[in-house]
Amino acid sequence: MKLINRRNALKIGGAAAALPLIGIPAVAQKEKVRAAFVLIGTPDDNGWNYGHDLGRLEMIEALGADRVETATVTNVAEGPDSERVFRELAQQGYDIIFGTSFGYGDAMLKVAKQFPDVKFEWATGYKTASNLSTYNARFHEGRSVLGTISGMMSKTGIGAYIGSFPIPEVVMGINAFHLAARKANPDFITKVVYVDSWFDPAKEADAARALIDQGVDVITQHTDGPAALQVAEERGIIGGFGQGADMSAFAPDAHLTSIIDIWSPYYIKAVKSVLDGNWKEGTSWEGLAGGEVVIGPYNKKIPADVVAAAEAVRLGIIDGSVHPFSGPITDNKGELRVEAGDIIDDGEFWGVDWYAEGVEA
C-alpha cells in the first residue's frame, strides 16, 4: 500500500512540477526498483566488468525479478560521453544508477545535482553528495595474501607488479603485496612497471617478458586481463595471479590463485535500501571480512606450508589480528613512514604517495 500523506503529496507535486516528463513518484516504499549499471567495458572481459555484471545478476536473484528491473549500458567512455548516458538513464526514470569506473565521477556529480530524486552510486569514487554514494573494495587486503605466497615461493627473490597508473589504489596494492612478501623474505624486491593503460594486452605481455628476462619469477598485475599470466605460463616461471576473477583457464600451471571481486553483497544492500525507502548517502569500503574481496582456489603446486601461511594472513585480516600496513614501514628512500606499533589507517590510506623499502618503481 502506498501511503499518500500531505508530505508525500507535496513531494509528488514538486517532482511533477520540476520534471514534468519524468514523473517519478517520490514515495517512500517501492514495489519495484529500476536499477541501471554503466560499465566501461563489456561483461565478457573476464575481469572488472564481468565482476560487476555478476554482482548485478546475483542481486536480481536475491531480491527477485519481480521487485527489481535492471538495464546495463556497456562500453561507456569516461568523460562527456558518460554524462550523456547518466542523464538519459535518469530521464528514463531509473531509481538508482551505478557507475562502475573511477573516471565517471565528474559526470555523476553533475547529473546527480540535476536529478535529486535519483540515487547515484559511484564505484571507487572519492566524493559523495546528498544523492550520490561511493563504494569500493579493499583489494589491497587480497594483495597481502598474494605477497605472502610470492615471498615464500620466489626463488630469485624478485617479484613484479604490472600496474596501470600510479593512483593511490594501485600504489597501496603494491605496498600491501610487497610488505607481505618481505615478511616471508626480508630481501624481497618488487619491480613495478606501469603500462599507462587499463587495457593494452600486447604491452602487458611485453612488460611481463621484460620483467621475466630480468630475473622476476612471480608476477602480479593490476590491469584487467590475463596477458601477463599467459607469459608466465609460456616462460614456465613460478607463477602469477588472477586479477578480478579466476583466470586459471589461461594459465593452468602458472595461476597460483586469484583475487576475485564480489560486488553482490553491496548491490543487494543498495537496491534493497531503495526498495525499503531508506537509502542514505554513504561510503562503503568492505574487504575480505565483508566478502567483497575473495581469494580463489590455490593451485595444487603450492606447498602446504605456503597455503597455511596465506590462509593465516587471510583469516588474520578478517578477524583483525593482521593489518596489511602495520609498522614499522620504511619507504624506498630510507625514511621511516610508519612507527612500530602504528598502522596506516583508512583516512591516511588515500594520501600515501611513497613505496615501501625494496620496491623499485
Binding site: 567495458g41 563489456t42 565478457d44 572481459d45 573476464n46 562500453n75 613484479a160 619491480k191 613495478v192 612497471v193 606501469y194 603500462v195 599507462d196 593503460s197 587495457f199 593494452d200 594486452p201 600486447a202 604491452k203 602487458e204 605481455a205 611485453d206 612488460a207 617478458r209 621484460a210 620483467l211 628476462d213 630480468q214 622476476v216 586481463g225 590475463p226 596477458a227 599467459q230 607469459v231 609460456e234 583457464a249 589461461f250 594459465a251 623499485e360 618503481a361
Partner: protein, 309 residues
Amino acid sequence: MNIDLTIAIIITMVGASTPLLLAALGELVVEKSGVLNLGVEGMMLTGAVVGFAVTYTTGNPWLGILAAGFAGACVSMIFAFLTLSLFANQVATGLALTIFGAGFSALFGQSFTGKPIKLFKSIFPDYLTEHPILKVFFDHSPLVYFSLFMVFAVSYFLHKTRAGLVLRAVGENDHSAHSIGYSVIKVRYGAVGFGGMMAGIGGACFPLLLTPQWVEGLTGGRGWIALALVVFSAWKPTRLLAGAYLFGLIATMEVYAKAAGGGFRIIPSELWASLPYLATILVLVLISMRHKMSSSAPACLGKPFISSN
C-alpha cells in the same frame, strides 16, 4: 648489459615490430596506388578476431593466418567500393572503416573472449631456438619470417616489375595512366585488397604472436602507428623495415628500462609512450629538409579518380 638480455630484448622487439611492419607494408602499397585508407586499425581488429576464432576452432594457426588475411581483404573491399566506385571521401570512409572494424570485431568476438589459444611459436628445432646465441635468428614465429620476406617481395614488385611500375604510375598520375590504357580503378581495387590482407595478417599477430587471447580492442591503436610508419618510411619498403623495428625497439626499451629500474627511470613514462610519435615528426622534418616532400609522397594520394570518358 649482458648478451643474454640483449638477445632477449631483440627477440621481444622483433615480435612487437612485426604487426606494425605487416600492416604498414600493406598500407604502403595502397598509398603508392594513390589511395589513402585510414581504416588500418579496423582491418587489423577484424584480422585479429578472425585469426583468433579460426585458430581456436581448428587448432591450426596457418588456417588462422589465411582467414585473417582473407577477412582483412573482405572489409577493405567495402572501403574500395565506397571510395573507388562511388567516389566517397577517402578520409571519412577510412575512419568509418576503423569504427566498423572495432564494432564488428567486438560483436563477432563475444563468444571467443576468455578462451586461451597457444602462441604460434618458432617451427625450428629446439637446439636452434634454445641455443643462447643462435636463438636470436631462430626463436621467432613464422609470421616474423613472412613479414621480412614481404618487405623484399613488395620492394621487388614496386621497383623491378612492370605491374609495380603501373601501380606507381596510377599513384603518381592517374589520368596519364588511364590515357595509355591502364584501368586505374582495377589497379586501386587490387592495391586496397592487398593492403586489407596485410592489415588482417598484422592483426592476427596479436593473438598468435604477442598475447594468445581475444579481447575487444586487442590491437590497442597500433593501426595508427602503422599509418605513421608509411609516412616515416617515405614510401620505401626497406626504410619501412628500419622504421618498424625502430618503433618496436622504442616500445620494447620502454618496458625493459622500466623493469630494470635505476637510472632508466629518469625518463618519465609518458615521454617513453610519446617517443614513436616524436620520432615520426623528427624524421618528417629531416626528409623535408633534404629534398622536397613531393618527391616521396605519391602525387595522387587521396584524390578520387573520375574517368573523363
